[in-house]
């Protein structure tokens, strides 16, 4: 027994040293950790006072090491609620809505402080907010307007790049719609509440949510975010031109620019609308229900004639591309190799797209340059498709002749076999 005890001694010492080391390591890791007792109670409280540990752990501020006291003040190290939430300890309690922007701005407008966490984060949000309709009305005493936490959420605030964030591009429209699509909430402001419904039918919404193109515009792209305000009738094209550069350049040179300005018409919106903007088709140039020109112009006037000429030009190229596509499709399904011509069709389509962009100049000569370039390419491709079809027919003729030759040889062989075996 004694021998066994002696043998076990080194093992016992090793266990003791290991345990002591573990305790020391745990103590070192725990050192410097600030005690935060707020969630001990608030995680058990119902809304609006309840904040669960799980919810707060999702908050980017919590992840950066900030605590409840960073915004609400007080002494989070005390287990005694009276001491923890004493005014003496700087406890602020529930933050008044009016004071929220200033509270957030106390850190977010301080470049030196923000740099410690994210050097690329902007620090002009508060300044911008004060220029916004929301900010101005808040100062005027309207507490129904949006403050930071209404859009960014609170206690589970995530970085905008997080797809779950309320201000992630994909979610922005829904966030704005929480107020702006609520007719009863917006009743006193006398502004429409159908923007979100219209936007949901738009090509922009489709690009953002269906195609997942995060560069597609949402509410804040045109209205601004912290400095949110309507773009203004005379500035609409400046907003659209951020993305639609070439269309804007063409429009700048056009006669419509001056005409719209003098009539106080909102540029791009006149023809394309704003929130419910749909994918434009050539029918916009037509005289049918989708046509927009004849809303202002008189039938038969010089502008109407120019419109018809533009529409015919676009139609010609569109038809030429379709004809070439059709022939190439038949050639391809016959097994002919026409991939180069297929690639060329993309160039022709590019020309058509370019011509549709040039329409914004409302100049036949400029549009015709693109149309002619496209027609030339489409004609080349059509020729390639027809040549492939001729080649296909040659092949089939060659096959027919070859099969006849094979048949003759087979018959000859059969007769020869019969002859030698008879």
């Amino acid at each position: 027994m004694a021998i066994l005890r002696n043998k076990l001694r080194p093992f016992s010492i090793a266990c003791f040293v290991g345990l002591a080391g573990f305790v020391a390591l745990a103590a070192c890791l725990g050192y410097g950790q600030t005690k935060d007792t707020c969630l001990d109670c608030h995680s058990a409280l119902p809304d609006p006072l309840g904040v669960s540990q799980e919810k707060f752990s999702q908050d980017i501020h919590a992840q950066m090491g900030l605590t409840c006291a960073s915004c609400h003040g007080g002494d989070p190290t005390s287990d005694d609620p009276d001491k923890a939430m004493s005014r003496k300890a700087g406890w602020k309690g529930k933050i008044d809505r009016k004071r929220i922007p200033e509270l957030c701005g106390s850190c977010h407008s301080d470049p030196a402080y923000i740099r410690r966490f994210n050097p690329s984060l902007r620090t002009d949000q508060l300044g911008q907010y004060h220029t916004s309709v929301h900010g101005k009305r808040l100062v005027a005493g309207d507490t129904k307007v949006a403050v930071c936490t209404d859009c960014h959420s609170v206690h589970d605030l995530r970085a905008p790049s997080d797809p779950r964030s309320t201000v992630n591009p994909v979610n922005v429209a829904n966030t704005c719609a929480r107020c702006h699509a609520d007719a009863s909430y917006m009743k006193e402001y006398s502004i429409p509440t159908d923007q979100f419904a219209k936007y949901s039918t738009s090509v922009h919404h489709q690009a953002l949510t269906v195609r997942g193109d995060l560069s597609a515009p949402t509410c804040t792209t045109c209205h601004g975010n912290h400095g949110a305000a309507p773009p203004g009738v005379d500035r609409v094209e400046n907003v659209c031109s951020n993305c639609h550069t070439f269309q804007a350049q063409m429009y700048e040179k056009s006669s419509h620019k001056e005409a719209f300005q003098s009539a106080s018409l909102p540029g791009c919106v006149v023809c394309h609308s704003n929130h419910a903007i749909v994918h434009p088709t050539d029918a916009k140039l037509g005289a049918g229900p989708e046509g927009v020109c004849m809303r202002c112009h008189t039938p038969g006037d010089s502008c109407d004639q120019a419109r018809v000429a533009l529409l015919i030009s676009l139609g010609r190229l569109d038809e030429a591309i379709k004809s070439a596509d059709q022939v190439l499709h038949v050639a391809e399904s016959s097994g002919m190799e026409v991939s180069e011509a297929r690639l060329g069709q993309d160039q022709a389509r590019d020309s058509l797209t370019k011509a549709r962009v040039t329409i914004h100049s409302f100049r036949q000569d400029l549009v015709d340059q693109d149309i002619q370039a496209g027609l030339k390419i489409a004609a080349q491709n059509l020729r390639a498709g027809k040549a492939a079809m001729v080649e296909r027919n040659h092949r089939r003729l060659g096959l027919g002749i070859s099969l006849i030759a094979v048949g003759i040889v087979l018959a000859g062989l059969w007769l020869y076999i019969k002859k030698i075996e008879s």
Binding site: G335, M336, E337, S339, E340, R395, R396, G398, L399, S402, L403, V406, G407, V409, L410, L413, W414, Y416, I417, I420, E421
Partner: protein, 361 residues
């Protein structure tokens, strides 16, 4: 004396030509109601010849390499005179050759032609079938299009499932961890040098064995002919059978020409390693039964990984298939029925799984 006879005599005096072809003159082919199955080996050999000729012609323009392969095949299909025909015949002939090789193998199995003393003919034939499938697998990548790229990726990944040697084998086949231009160079080397060399030697051995051992007759007929030698019917190999074989070749040529002219082999889209694999990617039809089986095996069978189990099972079955003649009785009266039943099951399984794999999404 005709000039042709002069040449023949000249050659005979120097090479002993008549002695060389004497065995062919004596060679006979058994004549019975299933004799037409004997054409399949010859058709496969003819299609192999077509592959060699068209392959050499394609080599005149084909350039291996990730940046050139697709373009060179595109050039062959669009710019080279009759390039489309040569490439289409090469591709169609490859598929027909694999089909006729399978058909030849099953005909040999059901006619029980693998029995003693023809075990080595069977073994060489099955190895040739494996080589032909290797030709198909390596050649499929050469145009460097999207389907080929991802099929090779999947195929080499399956090789990587083999325990212990799988990973090194996969890296050897790919020339690295991934399918790249290095894989293409390697597959090109296998396709135009290694496999043709080995296949040619094996074909010569296979033909030599057929020549030495003669053509087998089904056991039932063999028993009848042994009991009643006067009932035995034969045809001279040269010229009678050879002429008929040539007719079969001409028919094969006509079918090939028609397929190439009406359905020229598709070029596809150039491979881009950075795009995701197209949905529902499948291998060539002759690998489909194995691919579909691997897909159906659960990811874990007991404690073994499903893919590993599948690959090992196919490896073992392939080996047993190769050694099939050694399980057969050498007495015509005591042939094993289970081998025929196994053949029927294998054929039904392969056909069924291939159709299932083709239709499955």
């Amino acid at each position: 004396m005709s000039p042709l006879r002069d040449v023949r005599n000249w050659l005979d005096q120097r090479l002993g030509w008549q002695d060389l072809i004497a065995p062919l003159r004596k060679k006979t082919v058994p004549l019975h109601r299933l004799s037409y199955w004997y054409f399949l080996g010859g058709i496969t050999l003819f299609l192999f010849g077509i592959q060699v000729v068209t392959g050499i012609l394609l080599l005149l323009y084909y350039r291996p390499g990730a940046s050139e392969a697709f373009e060179s095949v595109q050039y062959i299909m669009t710019q080279v005179q009759f390039g489309w025909l040569i490439r289409s015949i090469h591709s169609w002939s490859a598929n027909l050759m694999i089909f006729t090789a399978f058909a030849h193998m099953f005909s040999v199995l059901f006619l029980k032609a693998y029995r003693k003393p023809r075990e080595l003919t069977w073994v060489s034939g099955v190895i040739l079938l494996f080589l032909v499938m290797g030709f198909g697998f390596s050649g499929y990548l050469l145009p460097w299009n999207t389907l080929a790229f991802f099929a090779t990726k999947v195929g080499t990944e399956i090789t990587g499932q083999v325990p212990i040697v799988g990973k090194p084998m996969m890296i050897f086949l790919r020339g690295g961890e991934e399918v790249t231009g290095a894989t293409l160079s390697r597959f090109f080397g296998f396709h135009v040098a290694v496999l043709p060399g080995v296949a040619t030697l094996l074909i010569l051995l296979h033909l030599l064995l057929v020549q030495r051992l003669g053509i087998s007759v089904p056991p039932k007929l063999e028993r009848q002919w042994t009991a009643n030698p006067s009932a035995k019917r034969e045809m001279k190999f040269f010229p009678n059978f050879m002429l008929r074989e040539m007719m079969a070749w001409y028919v094969a040529l006509g079918v090939l020409g028609a397929l190439a002219a009406v359905f020229p082999w598709n070029l596809g889209v150039k491979a881009d390693p950075f795009v995701p694999a197209p949905a529902g990617i499948k291998p060539e039809w002759y690998f489909l039964f194995m691919f579909q089986t691997l897909k159906l095996i659960p990811s874990k069978v007991w404690f073994i990984d499903g893919d590993v189990l599948g690959v090992l099972a196919f490896g073992l079955l392939g080996l047993l298939w190769l050694l099939l003649p050694f399980f057969e009785s050498d007495q015509p009266s005591r042939t094993k029925g289970w081998i025929t039943r196994l053949g029927v099951f294998a054929l039904a399984y392969m056909a069924g799984m291939s159709v299932y794999g083709y239709l499955a999404k």
